[in-house]
């Protein structure tokens, strides 16, 4: 009698513990998200969790290098979805880290502006006819100009070289982008694939730019300080509209243009990893991220453009050149170091 009672108790206990062990599988599935700060705020995550009865774990990264190493985490810490720019996406696809997406399961993609629905025109997202990522947010690298020093907004990239603004120009201290936008300004068709001659040409042009600028900046705060202190007329906005907002906050009367030769832009996309154990939930997350409400929040809080809102007339008519892998980043970096260090053009 007593023995059976104890057995029953044991059975009950086993059932209860089994129930608790099964709970995450039965009711609460876990989605592991790898994203940049501001991409998945707690309130946005909470709404998704409620809607899909899932648990979301967001891990934030602050550089492409960290993102890459996180994606190579041990088995038990694999991520389901990841936000990365087009260059990185191309790299992940090449490394076989991503799974193709089914657009039919992402109805919110149809609410994106036409530029972002034309996935084939964006380098890095489509491979062998299969889609590996969908655009989420982007930032153009236009020109910020002082409205008091420009009667009409500048049109061309080449205004940066205009001796009229000598020592009134700020450039960004970066190897990849500077070569690319200079190439765009020179009308080179493939700014990310420069041949020897083009590279030499672009390098000399960058030395000429160096002679025309006040200095290079690295952080947006630094640029704002220099802009105010030295009455700068023009700057290459590596941080895009985010930088514009910061300058305006500091009291500058500034405008933002995308040059007619085309503006470089980075584009962050959502992708699903090949190892995602629950593709349906991962797809639901990506679709949710493309919800206009989520996009609007991102724009309001981070000052970043979303892919649903209608862009300004100037922007929609401008050519946007999405960043793509460059021919030889090491070469660009070594050349760039020499340019910044002040080597004279004869030495290139």
């Amino acid at each position: 009698m007593r023995q059976t009672k104890r057995k029953n108790l044991l059975r009950c206990g086993l059932l209860v513990s089994f129930f608790f062990a099964m709970r995450p599988v039965l009711g609460l599935e876990t989605l592991r998200v790898l994203a940049w700060p501001g991409y998945a705020d707690p309130d946005v995550v909470a709404r998704f969790e409620q809607r899909y009865q899932a648990k979301v774990e967001v891990t934030y990264v602050d550089s492409d290098e960290v993102l890459w190493s996180r994606l190579h985490s041990p088995q038990d810490q694999r991520f389901d979805v990841v936000a990365a720019n087009t260059v990185e996406i191309a790299r992940y696809v090449a490394a076989g880290l991503l799974a193709p997406l089914d657009l039919a399961a992402l109805p919110n993609t149809r609410r994106q502006s036409p530029r972002f629905q034309a996935l084939a025109t964006i380098p890095g997202l489509v491979h062998d006819g299969r889609i590996y990522a969908v655009p989420y947010t982007y930032s153009t690298m236009g020109l910020i100009y002082d409205r008091r020093q420009f009667r009409t907004p500048p049109q061309s990239m080449n205004v940066l070289w205009n001796p009229r603004y000598r020592h009134k120009v700020l450039a960004f201290n970066s190897a990849a982008h500077n070569f690319s936008f200079t190439a765009l300004g020179l009308g080179i068709a493939h700014p990310f694939r420069l041949d020897r001659e083009q590279m030499k040409h672009v390098t000399r042009r960058l030395v000429a730019l160096r002679r025309n600028i006040l200095t290079y900046y690295t952080l947006p705060e630094e640029a704002t300080e220099l802009f105010m202190e030295h009455k700068v007329a023009l700057l290459f906005a590596n941080y895009g509209t985010q930088q514009l907002a910061q300058l305006r906050q500091a009291g500058a009367d500034v405008g933002y243009v995308l040059p007619r030769e085309g503006a470089l832009a980075w584009l962050d996309c959502w992708a699903m990893t090949r190892t995602a154990p629950r593709p349906a939930l991962a797809t639901a997350w990506i679709n949710y991220m493309l919800d206009p409400g989520v996009g609007a929040l991102l724009s309001r809080r981070q000052g970043l453009a979303n892919t649903q809102s209608h862009p300004s007339a100037q922007e929609s008519s401008a050519t946007i050149v999405w960043l793509a892998p460059v021919e030889d980043i090491a070469q660009r970096e070594s050349l760039w170091r020499r340019i910044v260090s002040g080597d004279r053009p004869e030495r290139f």
């Binding site: 602050d62 550089s63 020499r338 910044v340 260090s341 002040g342 080597d343 004279r344």
Partner: protein, 581 residues
């Protein structure tokens, strides 16, 4: 067994004693620790301030060196473009001066004269390469006009100095200075009149500058330096320094929240320690001070901090802690001994009282009491004593009453003889023993003859006297072990125990009748009274008291009906029919 009051009291008192000494020890220990930590914080802050002063003084010295070189008469001439043999000679002279300066100051990694024209082209440049000055000339000279240390310095007036931010030197081909944390000190070069012609720049190795500054600090001190945004420039963990240069920033105000006011509220200094803020400063005592950094930019500052391991600070506290523990243990032992003694002193008289109360209630014994004490126990003892005496006297009274009551309940008041109740009880007891011993026992039912006439003729008082006298006579006639009782009215009953032979019984009964018949003198008159006696014998005439008495009564009744004044043994009815009436 449950612990007694003495044990409880001793445990309580000992616990109080141990707790008191333990708490005192604990608070002394913690107070001492925080005092030591506070003192260490003060000292550390003083060291930090001293280090800051020395840092500032060192920067001023560098500024003086740059001004000295900039004030050389050949400097303005060389700052402008030019060529020729004479210029060559002057350039060599200046380069030698630079080299001499670098020999004196190993922290100087580069000294340059940069022209304002030609996009800030370097005119005379000496680098340090493996601690040796090396001249950089011709094609190797670079354009530096886009660097703040050139364009900002050119804006300064004569004799002023510019101090750059501390950064990693990413300028190519700078020999020892390349990729090192450096700062640049620059002075504009002026002629007697006119605009600045160039700048004189000294590149200083931050590491060797600080090594000399903190040379006399203890080895286990950690040094922290942050720029005005909080980016670590120096940290015991080098991986956290110059984060902005690697695309991932590490801020002092994130690592040590307490330093936040230094950056956004203009506070001058702050201290923190691992005792109060184990999250921020685990195992450390830290002091931070904000120091204006650049004479040309009033908003520019750095925050310098020093850390010291908490263990070193608390070494003194640990030895004190050990002696406190010993002291607490000793006091606790003392507390236990005192508690036991005290508990016994309190409970001993209580035990006495308790013992006295127990003995009194069980045996009515009057034990000694601590009556002479003047405290509450004395009062209690005296009260108890009084109460005990009262109880004693009440009990005695009660007993007396009880005996009286018992006597009244079992005796006839008039004759003083046992009454019916007592008689029946005695009879039953005697029946028990008689049946055990198989002995004989007789019950004699005595009824006075013509007693009613006595009552009627002489009154009840006389009747009572008669009954009284009869009682005496009956008592005197029987043996001492026999029992005479009055059943009521003129009826008496006698129990004769241990009758050896029932043939003696008529003789005994007649002897009784004889004693009754003797005349009695009452109120001056002689009175003679007779009686009738019925006898029943155990076991022959009955086994129960009721049967025996009833049969004796029947026998007596038969005497009455057959003429009185005689005795008769009970005989059952079936025998009687055969006998003459």
């Amino acid at each position: 067994m449950r612990p007694g009051l003495a044990v409880k009291l001793a445990v309580l008192l000992a616990a109080i004693g141990i707790l008191a000494s333990g708490l005192t020890g604990f608070f002394a220990y913690t107070a001492n620790r925080s005092m030591l930590v506070e003192a260490a914080q003060r000292n550390l802050l003083t060291s930090t301030q001293l280090l800051n002063r020395r840092f500032a003084a060192a920067l001023t010295d560098i500024g003086d060196d740059s001004r000295l070189l900039a004030s050389l008469p050949i400097a303005p001439r060389l700052a402008a473009a030019g060529s020729g043999k004479e210029r060559q000679r002057e350039e060599n002279m200046l380069a030698q001066a630079f080299a001499a300066m670098m020999k004196i100051h190993p922290a100087y990694l580069q000294i340059r004269l940069i022209g304002a024209g030609q996009n800030g082209l370097e005119r005379v440049r000496v680098d340090s390469s493996a601690s040796r000055p090396i001249r950089v000339e011709g094609e190797q000279l670079q354009e530096k006009g886009h660097f703040p240390y050139v364009f900002e310095t050119l804006r300064l007036g004569p004799g002023r100095t510019y101090q750059s931010r501390i950064s990693i030197n990413r300028e190519n081909g700078t020999h020892s200075a390349q990729d090192k944390p450096i700062l640049r000190v620059a002075t504009p070069v002026y002629e007697a009149r006119g605009p600045a012609l160039g700048v004189l720049v000294i590149t200083v190795d931050l590491a060797s500058l600080l090594t000399t500054l903190k040379a006399d600090l203890p080895k286990n001190y950690g040094l922290y330096l942050a720029n005005k945004w909080g980016d670590f420039l120096i940290h015991p963990n080098p991986a956290l320094t110059f984060g902005f240069d690697k695309g991932r920033r590490f801020f002092m105000q994130d690592s040590f929240r307490a330093t936040r006011p230094l950056f956004d509220k203009g506070a001058r200094s702050t201290v923190l320690n691992g005792l109060d803020e184990p999250q921020q400063a685990a195992g450390l005592v830290l002091a931070f001070e904000r120091e204006p950094f650049s004479s040309s930019d009033p908003h520019h500052f750095v925050v310098l901090g020093l850390s010291q391991p908490l263990t070193g600070v608390l070494d003194g506290a640990e030895s004190l802690g050990r002696s406190i523990v010993r002291m607490v243990l000793a006091f606790s032992a003392l507390a236990i001994v005192l508690a036991v003694v005290f508990a016994r002193a309190i409970t001993h008289p209580l035990n006495m009282l308790a013992h006295a109360a127990t003995r009194f209630s069980s045996e009515r014994a009057m034990e000694a009491l601590p009556l002479k004490r003047m405290d509450e126990i004395g009062i209690l003892a005296r009260c108890f004593d009084r109460m005990r005496n009262q109880i004693q006297s009440h009990m005695a009274e009660l007993l007396e009453h009880q005996q009286e009551m018992a006597y009244l309940a079992h005796h006839d008041q008039l004759s003083g003889l046992p009454n019916r109740t007592l008689f029946f009880r005695q009879l039953e007891e005697s029946l028990h023993s008689a049946s055990r011993r198989q002995s004989l026992l007789a019950v004699l039912f005595v009824d006075l003859d013509c007693f009613k006439q006595v009552n009627d003729e002489f009154g009840h008082a006389m009747g009572d006297q008669v009954l009284h006298t009869v009682a005496r006579r009956l008592q005197h006639t029987v043996r001492a072990q026999d029992l005479v009782a009055r059943l009521g009215g003129d009826e008496f009953i006698i129990l004769l125990g241990d009758v050896s032979d029932d043939k003696d019984l008529p003789a005994i009964a007649n002897k009784i009748l004889d004693s009754l018949r003797e005349p009695m003198m009452l109120g001056g008159r002689s009175l003679s009274i007779g009686g009738s006696i019925g006898i029943s014998v155990f076991p022959r005439d009955g086994c129960t008291a009721e049967e025996l008495v009833q049969h004796a009564d029947q026998a007596m009744y038969e005497v009455k009906t057959s003429g009185r004044n005689a005795t008769r043994l009970y005989s059952p009815p079936e025998q009687r029919t055969g006998l003459p009436g």
